[in-house]
């Protein structure tokens, strides 16, 4: 029982990162019907951008420096958001009328460009890089499992960001515009919605969330590498599908569920089975509910 409770808690921590990245997949899918396979690599880029900023600032321990970390985190979020907007502007926008498959292939291409581009930057690529700042190991016990304060803060931050996005999409005028574009791009533009701007904004929010996830992940694990976005990207994509892609609440539920299932899979069957269990659950879930847990009709996805 203690093992199960511990694994669920670990799963929530793991899932908090999946949620942030899954939100980016889901929002972009909701508005463009595009599975942006480069999204995981935006996350990787964010880790390297913050790595470079920390290197330039030159601090090496988080203790009492958290305002600096916060500022770097915000800069990284903006930079990653900008990168996502740039990718949309340069690659996806000119192809918007093309077949969805072409867009998907372009996304895969961009993913390869980013990964191998980082690989070829001498101070970045090839080796595992030690992140210059790491969170402290101080912590406390929750229901019998030890967590660091940083971990707790990260879960809270993820939760706040997810709530923020939910509010943005569901309750604001910008969100209404996003939903309108998702439902019918042409009709929305006839109603005076600036479609290009709204789509750019969706990419920006998705990128920024990936940026936040990357900084927190790097602070906690202390290692970054040029392929780090690939695995996480795949898991987050799975989480988005699990919850119902295009659905904000679905990304949150899917992310947490995937984290918990992976953790329990390890606890019960051993680490070698965690991926099998996680994806097995996905297959069964899609069999039972083809649109994901909270999946809605296509037109009302956002």
């Amino acid at each position: 029982m203690q093992l199960l409770v511990g694994e669920i808690e670990n799963g929530i921590f793991l899932g908090a990162f999946f949620v942030l990245i899954a939100l980016g997949y889901s929002m972009v899918y909701g508005i463009l019907r595009l599975i942006n396979f480069a999204h995981g690599d935006f996350y990787m880029m964010a880790a390297y951008v913050s790595f470079a900023i920390f290197g330039a600032v030159g601090i090496s321990h988080l203790h009492s420096k958290w305002p600096v970390v916060l500022v770097v985190g915000l800069i990284t979020m903006i930079a990653t958001g900008a990168l996502a907007v740039l990718a949309e502007r340069l690659i996806y926008r000119p192809m918007r009328r093309a077949a969805l498959l072409s867009l998907m292939i372009a996304a895969l291409g961009l993913s390869q460009v980013l990964e191998n581009g980082v690989l070829n930057i001498p101070a970045w690529g090839s080796q595992y890089r030690t992140y210059p700042v790491t969170s402290s190991a101080a912590g406390t016990s929750i229901l019998g499992t030890q967590f660091t304060y940083a971990q707790i803060a990260m879960v809270i931050i993820s939760g706040l960001l997810a709530v923020g996005v939910y509010y943005l999409v569901g309750r604001t005028l910008i969100g209404k515009a996003m939903r309108a574009v998702a439902e019918d791009r042409v009709a929305a533009s006839l109603m005076g919605v600036n479609v290009d701007l709204v789509i750019s904004l969706v990419f920006f929010v998705g990128g920024a969330l990936a940026g936040a996830a990357a900084v927190m992940d790097s602070l906690y694990y202390g290692q970054i590498n040029y392929l780090m976005g690939f695995t996480v990207g795949l898991q987050a994509f799975t989480a988005a599908v699990l919850g119902g892609i295009g659905n904000i609440a679905g990304a949150v539920v899917g992310g947490l569920l995937l984290g918990i299932v992976e953790s329990i899979g390890t606890g019960i069957f051993g680490a070698e089975w965690s991926v099998v269990v996680a994806f097995g659950v996905l297959v069964v879930m899609l069999w039972v509910r083809p649109n994901g847990l909270l999946g809605e009709r296509v037109a009302r996805r956002m």
Partner: protein
């Protein structure tokens, strides 16, 4: 930490340099191929050696360190006129510690006409290259790969400088039982050939020694989060953990184990995880952890080893890695065999390697019938104040 980063940077620059050397060798080999082949074997010619090593990915640093050890040996031999008048040329190829890339690298090197192989850092990369090198009839010396499967095919051209991982498992078992008096140990690997090999041997040895093993956890190599594995450590009541995978994950595991409050669990790793990167990544959590390893470069005693370390530092502006001396000895062993054979013809060198008795930095070098190293010793290391030291209590 800043210092470590600087060192890594240097090694990257060094790697970039070696790549440049590699390409120039490729270029010259290409030029040689267009001239009549007979010319290539005349006096004063080149003894071309294929060196597949990981230059990218998590094992790039270790690959560079071994290559530099080999380069140092080759330069010294060349400074004394080469082998039987042939200058050594190291022909580097990236194997990325990956089976497919390694097979492609081996094929490429064979087609470039290399006359010997001294390479591969990872056992998983060495294995698929074996039949390719065998078909080409070339000697295949492995400086650090040491999985038992490498000699299982009983090819007569494979020679492992690094003793097989059964030594790791035996040393770890003795350490947990006799030094730490631990009754329950969780074993974890990263699903790589080497790690699974050591994990299975350790499982067998520990059971035999009366240590109970709740599980062998096979953690995918891309996984960064160990919390669920740590929950298993906790719930099973294991007093020790033996990680047989590589260093990038070893650091993550150690850090998360300590952060989870398991401060008294004895954490030991096999030699794939012994690397300066482990210490820098694990930070304070690295202190008080142990490692089983063959007597590697930095723990070698004696005048020759000290001279080697000095020369290495001078040449590459960084400290040698654990297996640098094995790379150095690998080239010198090849040279000794060729000198004994009075020929660099691959078949004759292979014959000579079977009979070789060379005294290298890493001790006496000779091989069993299937090519396993004879005579190297194992040691338990402890990380203290961010440094690898020989553990005060040896089993």
């Amino acid at each position: 930490m800043v210092q470590t980063r600087a060192r890594k940077l240097v090694s990257v620059v060094a790697a970039a340099g070696t790549v440049a050397i590699g390409t120039s060798v490729v270029a010259s080999a290409g030029a040689a191929a267009s001239t009549p082949r007979a010319l290539g074997h005349a006096a004063g010619s080149v003894y071309s050696i294929g060196v597949p090593m990981p230059e990218t990915g998590p094992n790039a640093q270790a690959g560079t360190e071994i290559f530099d050890g080999e380069l140092l040996a080759a330069n010294q031999i060349n400074a004394h006129g080469g082998i039987l008048g042939h200058k050594l040329k190291l022909n580097e190829q990236d194997d990325a510690c990956d089976p497919q890339t390694s097979a492609a690298a081996a094929t490429k090197l064979v087609s470039q006409g290399v006359q010997a192989f001294v390479g591969n850092y990872c056992s998983g990369a060495a294995l698929p290259a074996e039949p390719i090198v065998k078909r080409a009839g070339l000697p295949n010396i492995q400086p650090s790969a040491n999985d038992p499967s490498l000699t299982a095919a009983k090819l007569n051209n494979v020679f492992l400088m690094d003793p097989t991982s059964s030594g790791d498992a035996t040393e770890a078992t003795a350490f947990f039982k006799k030094v730490e008096h631990v009754k329950k140990v969780l074993i974890a690997d990263d699903q790589s050939t080497f790690a699974v090999g050591v994990a299975n041997l350790a499982y067998r040895d520990m059971k035999k020694a009366g240590i109970s093993v709740p599980a062998i956890q096979a953690v995918p190599a891309t996984q960064t989060d160990f919390s669920s594995v740590i929950s298993v450590v906790k719930s099973s009541g294991a007093q020790g953990v033996y990680w047989t995978g590589y260093y990038a994950q070893a650091a993550l595991f150690a850090k998360q184990l300590r952060a989870a409050g398991l401060k008294k669990v004895v954490y030991a790793v096999a030699d794939g995880s012994v690397d300066p990167t482990f210490i820098s990544d694990a930070g304070p959590a690295g202190n008080g952890t142990f490692a089983t390893i063959v007597d590697t470069t930095q723990f070698l005693g004696g005048k020759n080893a000290k001279l080697f370390i000095k020369q290495y530092r001078k040449a590459f502006h960084s400290a040698p890695g654990p297996y640098s001396a094995y790379g150095y000895d690998a080239i010198n062993t090849l040279a000794a065999a060729a000198n004994n054979a009075h020929s660099i013809a691959p078949a004759k060198v292979i014959q000579a390697l079977h009979k070789v008795h060379y005294h290298g930095l890493t001790g006496a070098v000779s091989f069993t019938k299937v090519g396993a190293r004879v005579g190297a010793k194992f040691v338990v290391l402890e990380v203290r104040k961010g440094q690898y030291t020989v553990a005060p209590k040896q089993p």
